[in-house]
């Protein structure tokens, strides 16, 4: 049977579009999160929507699960293959199909690289706003699956803000169009629920994006603080003063050291570094920049620099964007965590992270999108020391529990994927998760599209939706639902 299906798939994509050799399949056994690995049965490399449809129809007929994959840079195991399933890699569908400057719309195939969208429209002074740190390699299809963010989503919003329409191959191989070039298409906002569904609702094969006009000027301020507490206070004061910067990033001392070692960004050696970027009309930015400068000084910043040229600005950002990878300079292994807290909880959560870090005897470097409370604690460890990996994983989970307890989220931009599905029950009650899965059942009743991701327990789609049952914690008065 195996060979019959492969034969059929080979006919769809051609001999060069099907990978079945064990050696080559290893390339696809994991994504950016390397501690989960599953070898797929085969990898398909379609180059058109029709091919994707045909492949998915075979999967549907054979009840064979499939996992869509873009560039494989995801950090939550969203593109991790499933046992006995195939991987559909969209990298060959990498064409920018249409650039419509008059309406600021760009239509792309899912394999198009994030930064290439900006590259295509930059000549007319437009850009594509979502900017995950991996933007030079990650694909738009992957961004859609994960609802990727980035440093500038504080002002510009996430992928979902910039996706206007989708062509989607559903799990039965049928094709639907969600949203469109115009706004407010009649009916449910299925596009809104598809973006960020981590490949569990189907495969996007065409994406209509909104691009944004470049602001008149961009200014980036770098401020050195004694600790994250003072830097955090400066962030709060900036927000309280009624400003909405394009980005506010924070790095603690360990993260600064790593970034320095890796890319020599010329950061001051300090307890915490704040990077504030303002953009807009020149006069507006100048007025606000003076205010941010004053707020930083008032909160104890002992060195403040404003990038004077595009080259200086690029260098400042290079250090921040390289921060995850830079950990390799100061630790043999590390776990990248992604949690969100209400911004005001920052001092408490930082203190707790410090305490947990000392208790576990492991270093934690911190890189934040401070403006929106998105933390990226990096737990450093050495796999060669017995037991340390387990300790690091436990510490990483404890940090997420801190985020939940503070009223936040277990993921701000990396997704749940395989990695955090167990944490979903800690953040949401059973009825919450059951309700989300009703959407799943409408899109993909056989649960073939990236099954076993996001939800700790899949819901049988045939069963009658159950009535409300209180979460045990709720009954015990320990938690309430939000």
């Amino acid at each position: 049977m195996e060979s019959r299906i492969f034969e059929e798939l080979r006919e769809i994509v051609g001999p060069r579009g099907l990978i079945t050799s064990r050696e080559e399949l290893h390339t696809y056994e994991c994504d950016g999160l390397t501690n989960f690995r599953v070898l797929p049965r085969a990898v398909l490399l379609p180059d058109s929507t029709e091919q994707v449809q045909k492949i998915v129809r075979v999967c549907h007929r054979e009840k064979m699960p499939f996992v869509a994959r873009g560039s494989g840079t995801g950090l939550s195991g969203g593109a991790l293959p499933v046992e006995n399933g195939i991987v559909i890699s969209l990298t060959r569908m990498n064409k920018i199909l249409e650039v419509d400057f008059a309406n600021a719309r760009v239509v792309v195939e899912p394999g198009v690289i994030n930064l290439d969208v900006t590259g295509r429209v930059a000549g007319r002074e437009y850009f594509y706003a979502p900017d995950p740190s991996s933007q030079s390699v990650c694909s738009i299809g992957g961004n859609v699956a994960e609802n990727s963010g980035g440093a500038h989503c504080l002002k510009y919003g996430f992928t979902t803000t910039h996706v206007l329409g989708l062509e989607v191959v559903l799990a039965d191989g049928s094709l639907v169009h969600l949203g469109g070039k115009t706004l407010d298409a009649p009916g449910y906002d299925l596009m809104g629920v598809f973006v960020g569904s981590e490949g569990t609702l189907g495969i996007a094969t065409k994406i209509i994006l909104r691009v944004v006009k470049r602001p008149e000027c961009v200014r980036t301020l770098l401020a050195a603080f004694p600790s994250t507490n003072e830097a955090g206070a400066a962030v709060s004061d900036t927000i309280a003063a009624g400003m909405l910067p394009a980005a506010i990033e924070m790095m603690d001392n360990l993260a600064i050291q790593a970034a320095e070692a890796a890319v020599h960004a010329n950061y001051p050696n300090c307890g915490a570094l704040l990077l504030v970027e303002l953009d807009g009309p020149v006069a507006e930015v100048a007025a606000l920049m003076a205010h941010v400068d004053e707020i930083c000084r008032k909160n104890g910043a002992w060195e403040i620099r404003v990038a004077q040229s595009e080259a200086e600005r690029a260098l400042v950002w290079k250090g921040r964007k390289a921060a995850f990878a830079a950990m390799g300079r100061i630790s043999p292994n590390y776990i990248v965590q992604d949690g969100v807290i209400p911004r005001t909880e920052l001092p408490n959560v930082m203190r707790e992270i410090g305490r947990l870090s000392r208790e576990a005897g492991l270093r934690v470097a911190n890189v934040f999108h401070a403006g929106d409370g998105n933390l990226h604690p990096l737990v450093l460890y050495d796999r060669r020391i017995p037991g340390q990996e387990e300790t690091a994983e436990a510490l990483s989970s404890r940090i997420l529990e801190l985020c939940i307890a503070a009223g936040g989220s277990i993921t701000g931009e990396h997704g749940v994927g395989e990695d955090k599905k167990k944490m979903m029950s800690k953040m949401y009650s059973e009825p919450d998760l059951e309700t989300m899965q009703r959407v799943r059942c409408a899109f993909d009743p056989l649960q073939l599209s990236n099954p076993s991701k996001i939800f700790p327990r899949p819901r049988l789609c045939g069963e009658k939706p159950g009535e409300y049952v209180a979460h045990p914690l709720e009954t015990a008065g320990i938690a309430e639902r939000f």
């Binding site: 407010d184 009825p431 409300y468």
Partner: protein
């Protein structure tokens, strides 16, 4: 026992059970003014809590009674005439602002809280929900979300889908479920807040919502200019959109008896605004008129009240491409004249509002043709107010090839079509 007697018994049992839940004070017989598009419900129920609301909804679902959720009742006429209507489920008593976490720029409020009350609370800390909804004194959080109502500020701040960060829903079977939460950035699980925004209450009743907030602007300025024709207006709108100005809103107002006028709203610091005012005047040329007040931004709401006496009229919301607003306006002008009076308020996003006044048959045929033109260019037309006698014109138009999927979603959330039966697209 015939079916109608049995139905009556079910209804009276339901009524008794509901009294147990919300007390007799908050259950009353519906009156003529409770009718929805001419369909008369029997009962109005006003639960005092999320849990009460969920229980009433579950009972109604079990009894096979059709439920119409209602907030301030300002947009009840949006959508199609309900196929059935037994119970009005009012959120009037769920009207609290739950928490304004001003330092985090978020707020949570119950569904029945009016937008005006919410804004008043937020303004105490210099913040706002960056949404210029219709009739904010009466419109509620649940109502604006369910109808996806947004105004001119959408250009800069996005619409409700970009502002809502969490919701709690009561489903027809009594399930109370939350999605999203109190943090702006959150990708854990499916984005149900977006799914229910604009769903007209057909998937569940929104009982509370979380929003991200924006600071109130320090200063605001409006500049207007009158243009010779809509093509010129479009040219200016495109030029402003293509410039590096950081305007918050941009609209074209025009009509059968009104030359096109462009309004631009700036928000920010004194220094920033002064510089931008100079730049926009260069684009607009000699006809630029600085305005002191911001009254022009009421234009969208005034479309409902701008008629003479009690003339029959229709209001519709259209979606076109941003570069084709002029074509849409020209189409409406051509289809209306000379039989109907028309006026339009169109935003630079491509979303516009049209009022048509005249004989019902002429208005209806103009709207049908306008919709057909828009749909050919992948746009759409939503009927938001209809004159008596125009009941048959579908409110939504073509939902495209995802209608089957929408029906599947509806079946999962509300299998018996208890909520707002028949009012949404494709008979959902």
């Amino acid at each position: 026992m015939d079916a109608s007697v049995s139905a009556k018994e079910t209804a009276s049992t339901f009524e008794a059970d509901v009294r147990e839940i919300v007390t007799a004070k908050y259950v009353r017989a519906a009156v003529a003014s409770d009718a929805v598009a001419g369909v008369q419900p029997r009962l109005v129920v006003e639960p005092g809590s999320e849990q009460e609301l969920a229980k009433v909804l579950k009972l109604a679902d079990a009894a096979g009674l059709a439920v119409i959720p209602r907030g301030g009742g300002t947009k009840l006429e949006w959508g199609n005439r309900p196929a059935r209507a037994d119970v009005i489920l009012s959120t009037v008593r769920l009207n609290r602002v739950i928490e304004h976490a001003w330092a985090d720029l978020t707020v949570s409020a119950e569904a029945g809280c009016t937008i005006a009350k919410l804004q008043e609370v937020l303004a105490k800390h210099g913040q706002r929900l960056a949404l210029d909804a219709l009739w904010p004194e009466h419109a509620t959080v649940g109502g604006v979300l369910s109808t996806n109502d947004s105004g001119a500020l959408r250009l800069r701040f996005g619409s409700l889908r970009d502002l809502v960060i969490g919701v709690t829903l009561a489903l027809a079977d009594g399930t109370v479920a939350s999605s999203g939460g109190r943090v702006v950035k959150n990708v854990a699980g499916y984005d149900l807040p977006k799914l229910v925004t604009g769903a007209l209450g057909t998937l569940g009743v929104i009982t509370r919502a979380f929003f991200r907030l924006h600071p109130l602007p320090k200063e605001t300025r409006t500049v207007s200019c009158v243009t010779t024709d809509v093509r010129e207006a479009q040219r200016l709108v495109t030029a402003i959109q293509n410039s590096k100005l950081a305007h918050s809103a941009l609209q074209i107002c025009c009509g059968a008896e009104m030359q096109p006028r462009i309004d631009v709203l700036f928000e920010g610091t004194e220094a920033g605004l002064t510089a931008q005012m100079e730049q926009v005047k260069v684009i607009m040329g000699a006809s630029a008129i600085p305005e002191v007040g911001g009254d022009v931004w009421n234009a969208r709401q005034e479309i409902w009240s701008s008629g003479k006496g009690n003339a029959q009229f229709a209001v519709a919301k259209f979606a076109s491409l941003p570069a084709r607003i002029a074509e849409a306006i020209e189409t409406i002008a051509k289809l209306s004249s000379p039989k109907s009076r028309w006026s339009v308020v169109a935003q630079a996003t491509g979303i516009g509002w049209v009022r048509l006044e005249g004989a019902v048959s002429a208005v209806e045929s103009a709207l049908r043709e306008f919709r057909a033109e828009l749909e050919r260019a992948r746009g759409s037309l939503l009927i938001a107010h209809r004159p008596v006698g125009m009941a048959e014109l579908d409110a939504w138009g073509d939902a495209g090839d995802s209608l089957g999927l929408m029906r599947a979603v509806k079946r999962q959330f509300d299998p018996q079509a208890t909520l707002n039966a028949g009012r949404f697209v494709g008979g959902i």
